[in-house]
Symmetry: C2
Subunit: 200 residues, 2 copies
DNA sequence: TTATAGACAAACTAGTTGGTCTGTGCTATT
DNA sequence: AATAGCACAGACCAACTAGTTTGTCTATAA
């Protein structure tokens, strides 16, 4: 409840509730009324903070989804000397941090990508830009590994980085379909086999 | 226009139009009215052939999406002695058979999976069963390759088959986001590197 | 203390959408 | 040739949903 009249907090409550609803039902399936019910707010409050459902969706993407992935998948890569081992560890650690319920609902980034990319150019541009950011971050780590003699010189780091992301997102997608966390780790084991071919 | 009163043809026209709309907008985004406009039919006709939007969706999945993937991705595997080479060829051939527009809209199976799996149990069961069918078909080919001494004995054929599908669907997903067919083939190249590790 | 703008409530609106209902002409069987 | 049922047409409806409008209360600055 906190103090009455706390606009920053209200905005965050809306953002979090909207994220949960989007995660459950997709952006199009997310209902404004569901967000209001969850936050005990009324229409006036929500449309005071966000001009439209679309703007709310963009804010959820930028302020929640992007930030979470940066914290969980991108920043930790720096903690490992060998980027190959780093990525394996991040993959496993991320998988362990979520419960089955989360896996059943899928990766929020993946969900939003597949749903909104073909029908909303604003979402598409943000999503594509973020995937490029992620890909370049991994590619940089791989280049560093190459310079340190840990990774084969002849690989195309950008293409490899893209494939690593693709396989990771695919693992989430399959786990979502099977409603089973194990499918994620099963894909991870095969991804690790691929990753080992990159070692010098 | 064909002859008046051709119920089988009418049913197929509805099915095809619904498939196109689902492919463009997702199942939830597919509008009954859009299907009617596309087929020049009225509500009465559609609801004569299908009891509900959901039933229409199930029929599209079973009679169009499943069949297409079986023809394009599963049956051709039998034409190759070495299943590894077979899968590489199928991946490329499938990619070449579609134009950019198709890639922008994504793999219909992948789309439907990610959209409907968490919110419709009927879809989920059908989709999961089909992925299992596909996985087992690939696993069988891999086993055959093992027996012929083409593929390493120690690999887990089921897990490998799952990863092959995952990577393929992931490649479609990335190409859809980038709106670019090349991303698909880029992922294919790295998948091929993985596949080669399976050779005896 | 008072004016002003921000933060929210609550009722209302207009458009959309899946589905229903009744009717009608065609077609095949007896 | 009569009749029954199939294959549709087309009007209608009820529920839903994003967004609007008007108004009220509160905090802050002058």
């Amino acid at each position: 409840m906190a103090t009455l009249r706390n606009p920053e907090n209200t905005r965050l409550r809306i953002l979090n509730a909207a994220f949960e609803e989007i995660h459950k039902h997709g952006f199009q399936g997310m209902r404004i009324d569901a967000v209001l019910k969850k936050t005990n707010l009324k229409k006036g409050a929500l449309y005071h903070h966000f001009p439209s459902k679309q703007a709310l969706g963009y804010a959820v993407f930028e302020e929640i989804i992007e930030k979470t992935i940066i914290e969980l998948w991108i920043n930790p890569l720096k903690n490992y000397d060998n980027p190959i081992e780093g990525f394996k560890a991040v993959f496993i650690e991320a998988g362990q941090s979520w419960d089955d319920e989360f896996f059943k609902q899928g990766c929020p980034l993946n969900n939003l990508s597949q749903e909104m990319t073909p029908i909303d150019e604003g979402f598409r541009q943000r999503i594509q830009a973020f995937f490029n950011l992620w890909r370049d971050a991994i590619a940089n780590e791989l280049s560093r590994g190459q310079q340190q003699g840990l990774i084969k010189k002849e690989i195309d780091v950008t293409e490899v980085a893209r494939f690593i992301i693709t396989a990771s997102e695919g693992a989430h997608a399959q786990a979502k379909i099977a409603q089973n966390k194990q499918e994620y780790f099963s894909c991870g084991k095969q991804l690790a086999i691929y990753l080992d071919t990159l070692l010098a």
